[in-house]
Symmetry: C2
Subunit: 200 residues, 2 copies
DNA sequence: CGTCTATTTGAATGTACTCAAAAGCGGTGG
DNA sequence: CCACCGCTTTTGAGTACATTCAAATAGACG
């Protein structure tokens, strides 16, 4: 697929949400770069200052945090037409606190903070849209946090497969366990127990 | 204190972050309303559509979620010069998923979504500032989430009193426990154990 | 087919929980 | 000023659940 066709997917996503002139579309297409990542490749890594924000044209990512003990904690999974980035440290000079890894061959559009600011000056409506996108991210994270502290792992699991059906075919179990905040062993036992309860 | 003097505190907060003309300042001062809340009064309540965002001139708030079992979970505490609101549902038509309660007599400046949008049209620089403020909130929440799933309650407790010294004099223990995601009984035992370890 | 990784299962451990009761503390009214 | 009440905090004992460590099984991939 050629470059312009791929970028059309982002333009289409944006045009569904805000009004864009032809010049706006040109500027947007020019600001983003196409990048392809193979399975297991990283888009950004914890501790490095490589700051990038990406729009997923195709593929899947896992965004995770690696704690002092070396344990990985999945913050979220990201799919087609989603944004991936460390929204918290993008725009700041600090190194990222997160890792983003492709779970399969993925094609993305990337932008750096400077180009993004330039784009905002040129297309003010984007500023507003990104405020709403960040707000949406905040809403999702807040819900996830509240669910994590108030619901059981089983309830969180049901919520995950409700919101992202088919995820089990896409990501290995131990990563789902990590997303749920439990160990693979606990996750295995939990599923077994849930199946038994369904039968009774 | 008179109205204009109180509103100066917000203008000052904003002017430190973005350039504002005299007209901008006028418009901002006009858009916000002063409100006083007594101890234990609510700014907004879960399930109600009363959507409001507030800037704290003086006082303290706890923002919490009440789950199906009736347990309260403190999402965050908010102090002078902070924003309080359900950023996730502000601007949406859904009822709030959170409660905000004054922990002491508090004076705030409030605005509703419609006035806020009007203000953004009039003062575009505010749009940008609020994008950054939301981004900051997202960063804080993300850090809190990652800490919750990767650190012990004791570590989270130390982090809290590091970031908000004097909080123990201000809020009752069971609310701190709620913030940490443990029960008051567990919090009490935890503190006892921490003191013993310090001595040895 | 063999190796490597992912998943399942088992047993013992630990940590926070539940329920229950006692102790501490603050405020109110006599 | 003291006695009482309500609420918060502490302590205790038993329980539940996820964890750890270890081993076995199953699957994926070359």
């Amino acid at each position: 697929m050629n470059e312009q066709m791929l970028k059309q997917q982002l333009i289409h996503y944006l045009a569904e949400r805000i009004m864009l002139s032809e010049e706006d579309k040109q500027a947007i297409a020019a600001a983003y770069s196409i990048q392809t990542l193979k399975r297991k490749e990283f888009l950004f890594e914890q501790g490095k200052i490589c700051q990038t924000e990406a729009f997923i044209l195709s593929g899947t990512f896992r965004v995770f945090y690696c704690d002092q003990k070396g344990l990985e904690h999945v913050l979220y999974f990201a799919f087609k037409d989603w944004w991936v980035g460390d929204m918290a440290s993008f725009n700041s000079t600090e190194p990222s606190g997160l890792n983003a890894q492709a779970l399969e061959e993925s094609v993305i559009l990337t932008i750096d903070p400077i180009k993004k600011e330039e784009l905002f000056s040129r297309v003010p409506a984007l500023e507003r849209l990104f405020r709403l996108i960040i707000q949406k991210h905040l809403a999702v994270l807040q819900k996830r946090f509240l669910l994590t502290i108030s619901a059981t792992a089983a309830e969180r699991y049901l919520e995950l497969i409700r919101r992202a059906p088919g995820i089990e075919q896409l990501v290995p179990q131990h990563q789902i366990a990590s997303y749920l905040g439990i160990l693979p062993e606990s996750f295995s036992r939990m599923k077994k127990q849930m199946h038994q309860q369904k039968k009774s």
